[in-house]
């Protein structure tokens, strides 16, 4: 190119990047993970379809753990404050993260919300994601574990139709099992079978928030995780802001 006037052909430059498109979200998630680790908080990313029973799980968990562990929660919601209000009524410090048009939470949204929990002494922090079986699976939030709520009325084929979220799950809570008697032909085994095609080490706990069935197994799972998360100090503990 002509140096004096800038005329002539521009140069075509190719640049290899080879990095995750969501690298910035992943960095923020790592930062959140540091916050949780430093405060010894077990963070759970609770995902599932609209109406799968996510808020009901948090309500049941809070009453089962009363006096044993302190819960906090945020609920991702497109527009309303209903879930967080339900949780506050159940005695859980809870906030809504209003996502507007977004169908999922991302790490930055969770980070902003964490500010409001700065002074709260918590053992468990539940991030109730937006009701959706597709989008939330892609975004790391800084959680210690992904829990997917799948209600029996959704049908046993959902893991086969929405593999990414189930592949990302550490645990599937099969919810509303009190309804199984009304669903001829459906069984816990049918859900286990379809999960085994998308989740290499399927872990499924059938529960009913309505009758309390299975809740103690779920509480055992949490308690094991709690013990693990407070025993292992995180190497990211000092990256705080």
């Amino acid at each position: 190119m002509c140096q004096s006037c800038g005329c002539g052909d521009a140069e075509i430059v190719a640049l290899d990047i080879h990095d995750k498109v969501l690298a910035a979200n992943d960095r923020m998630a790592l930062h959140n993970r540091g916050h949780f680790a430093q405060r010894g908080i077990l963070a759970l990313n609770l995902m599932g379809s609209p109406g799968a029973g996510k808020t009901a799980i948090v309500e049941a968990t809070s009453s089962a753990l009363k006096g044993r562990a302190r819960l906090g929660a945020v609920s991702g919601d497109l527009a309303t404050d209903r879930d967080a209000r339900r949780l506050r009524q159940a005695g859980v410090p809870a906030l809504t993260i209003t996502t507007g048009a977004a169908c999922h939470l991302d790490a930055a949204m969770v980070h902003r919300a964490l500010d409001s929990f700065r002074s709260a002494a918590l053992d468990i922090f539940v991030i109730e994601n937006v009701g959706n079986l597709v989008c939330p699976a892609i975004y790391d939030l800084g959680q210690a574990a992904n829990v997917v709520a799948l209600s029996v009325t959704e049908g046993e084929d959902k893991p086969l139709k929405y593999p990414p979220i189930f592949r990302a799950a550490d645990l599937v809570l099969l919810t509303k099992i009190d309804l199984l008697p009304h669903l001829p032909g459906l069984s816990v085994a049918a859900f286990e079978e379809s999960l085994s095609h998308v989740m290499p080490e399927p872990r499924i706990i059938p529960i009913s928030a309505r009758t309390g069935e299975g809740i103690s197994d779920w509480i055992d799972w949490i308690t094991d995780r709690l013990a693990a998360s407070s025993a292992v100090p995180s190497p990211q503990g000092e990256q705080q802001t």
């Binding site: 800038g6 521009a10 430059v13 190719a14 995750k20 498109v21 979200n25 597709v134 085994s196 095609h197």
Partner: protein, 113 residues
């Protein structure tokens, strides 16, 4: 539709890289999208058309390379068929996804005056 958020993250990264090198325009953006990444290439392309307007990528073509889903045994590396029970047929260990969940920015081509 998270493809909108993905495209916004993609454009932000591409613009950052392009500006750092004094580019006047981006001509091509190449990404790799796994078959089970949760991203639909068609929706991604559609969201890109919408968001590239009035950015450095206004004239840039988006190339999407699709990556097949592949599973292999964690222990002995035997291939486990997609859609099968995800347990090694040889040794019984759980399988692991070896490719197919990536959402990667691979390469950009830009015009530097």
């Amino acid at each position: 539709m998270h493809e909108y958020s993905i495209v916004q993250a993609l454009l932000a990264r591409v613009e950052q890289e392009a500006r750092a090198r004094g580019a006047s325009a981006v001509l091509r953006v190449r990404v790799r999208v796994g078959a089970v990444s949760g991203v639909e290439p068609e929706l991604l392309a559609c969201a890109y058309e919408f968001f590239r307007v009035r950015t450095l990528c206004e004239r840039a073509e988006l190339n999407i390379d699709r990556v097949e889903e592949q599973w292999a045994c964690q222990a002995c590396r035997t291939t486990v068929e997609r859609g099968a029970v995800l347990i090694c047929p040889r040794c019984g260990a759980p399988a692991r996804l070896t490719q197919g969940d990536e959402i990667m920015l691979e390469r950009i081509e830009m015009e530097v005056p």
